[in-house]
């Protein structure tokens, strides 16, 4: 008797999937809906030109050698190659004046390698990519 009732319930169990027909799906329709971005997410870099002292501790501590010096308005500033960066945040942690920071911006798309290098402008890093 127990064997028959178990066989009976197993035959009709797959029909329970019908109750999932009317549930809201788990997925979001990207790019129209996204998850809200968090304030301390590790995204693209930003530089404060007045606080930067030109000591290049960020260049020495970077594990992939992605930061190199470049000339701008008579002084040397760091320049980041986003193709080599591993987003570890060690440059922000060891900067003595807190000049280089990681922002939550994470939509970074480019089609050629040269535009993956962040350029230097009046307000800090200016991205060359779209």
């Amino acid at each position: 008797m127990a064997y028959l009732s178990e066989k009976f319930s197993r035959t009709f169990r797959p029909l329970g999937i019908v109750k999932n027909l009317f549930k809201k799906p788990m997925t979001l329709k990207f790019p129209y809906e996204t998850l809200p971005p968090l304030p301390d997410y590790r995204g693209r870099h930003a530089l404060d030109l007045e606080k930067c002292a030109g000591c290049f501790i960020c260049s020495m501590i970077c594990p992939n050698k992605a930061i190199w010096p470049v000339e701008f308005e008579g002084r040397k500033y760091p320049q980041v190659n986003l193709g080599k960066c591993c987003w570890c945040q060690l440059c922000e942690e060891y900067c003595p004046n807190k000049a280089i920071k990681l922002t939550p911006h994470s939509m970074i798309v480019t089609m050629n390698k040269e535009s993956a290098i962040l350029g230097i402008g009046k307000e800090g890093f200016i991205p060359k990519h779209g």
């Binding site: 501590i61 594990p63 591993c86 942690e93 060891y94």
Partner: protein
């Protein structure tokens, strides 16, 4: 029969790196009809040379590198490396940091087992399990993002503690997600673990006895499914494991079904461990600063951690300079995929080969390093 005719009777076919059921693992099979005569694995698709790369970088710079050894389960790699360095140098770690480390490691274990369940469903032909499991993974990945800023590569532990503090918002969200995951386990029991397809295709497949398993170097849930009671969290406890209460799940049969049920039991145990730790989290500092040019004294240390797949060990040798002299990583999937898998697949049918491979839960990234 002539020698040439005997050779021609076998067909060599690849279970290749581009295959929906094999991950990034390549093996050559010699088959005759439907029977597998011999299986020869060819690793090296994901070899990146971590052990040599670690000899050029300081200990702090190695932390984002070690994360990438096993991608599906990132926290035990960091835990093993950080503890091996601290054991060499005698660094003091505050209590709050130790509690936070184990909470995140147990969340990583739940994440890895849910991933295993999804991929096992995909291999069996049961695609719905994969889609629903990936939606549940998102809950744990969102917690990773809140606490450390990175979703799959957190880079969160460092020698001396953890890099950021755990906020009240995280604790509230962790309790909500734990309740949700416990309810989902009640949904998964009749849906996946008690399903006719899963039971029929995995019972009696890939049977391993206890003596054979120990001789071949098996560890983790694969060994506990054969009846051997070996869990590093109980036998050689580290961090705060002596202060929590949990059971070690063992089964007797040793086939693919037993290995799956061991993993399902471990998800429930991990949920209970996290609840106990969150209720008694102490206050205080979360990191002792050691600086980037810190050098470990001369010596050697060996530290083992219980990862979701098995036993993950770090052997560190230092000669007094800031970079390590030799860092060897022993991945759990090294023995499982390269020694146990060819031994079990011999003599079976072609349809059993992906089932045996995924029930052993081999991660090609920590096999190749």
């Amino acid at each position: 029969m002539d020698i040439e005719e005997k050779e021609l009777a076998f067909l060599t076919m690849p279970f290749g790196p581009q295959h929906p059921a094999s991950g990034h693992f390549h093996a050559l099979m010699k088959v005759e009809g439907e029977r597998v005569h011999e299986l020869e694995p060819h690793p090296g698709y994901l070899h990146r040379g971590f052990e040599k790369l670690m000899e050029y970088r300081v200990h702090v710079q190695n932390c984002p590198l070690v994360d990438r050894i096993c991608i599906l389960d990132p926290f035990p790699n960091e835990l093993g490396y950080v503890n091996a360095v601290e054991k060499l140098g005698g660094v003091e770690v505050p209590e709050r940091a130790r509690y936070i480390r184990i909470i995140m490691t147990e969340f990583g274990r739940i994440l890895s087992h849910i991933t295993w369940m999804g991929v096992m469903g995909m291999v069996l032909g049961f695609d719905s399990a994969c889609r629903i499991a990936w939606g549940d993974r998102e809950r744990v990945i969102r917690l990773n993002e809140i606490i450390s800023g990175g979703r799959l590569y957190p880079c969160y532990f460092c020698p001396g503690g953890v890099r950021r503090d755990m906020s009240q918002e995280f604790i509230k969200m962790a309790f909500e997600n734990l309740d949700y995951l416990e309810k989902q386990l009640d949904f998964y029991d009749p849906f996946f673990f008690d399903n006719e397809t899963f039971i029929m295709r995995t019972k009696g497949v890939g049977k391993l006895s206890a003596e054979e398993a120990i001789d071949l170097g098996t560890t983790g849930p694969n060994l506990r499914a054969c009846g051997v009671d070996y869990d590093i969290r109980k036998d050689e406890p580290y961090e705060v494991y002596p202060k929590v209460d949990f059971n070690v799940i063992t089964r007797e049969e040793g086939d693919a079904y037993a290995r799956g049920m061991c993993r399902r039991g471990e998800i429930a145990e991990s949920i209970s461990i996290i609840r106990q730790l969150l209720n008694k989290l102490p206050d205080g500092p979360f990191r002792t600063e050691i600086g980037p040019a810190w050098a470990a004294p001369e010596g050697e240390s060996y530290f083992c951690v219980e990862a979701a797949r098995g036993e993950l060990c770090f052997h560190m040798v230092s000669d007094g300079s800031p970079v390590p002299y030799r860092a060897k990583v022993r991945g759990p999937s090294f023995s499982h995929s390269l020694v146990v898998f060819p031994y079990l697949a011999k003599g079976g049918t072609i349809a059993d080969v992906p089932i045996i491979y995924w029930s052993l839960d081999g991660c090609p990234a920590d096999m190749d390093r």
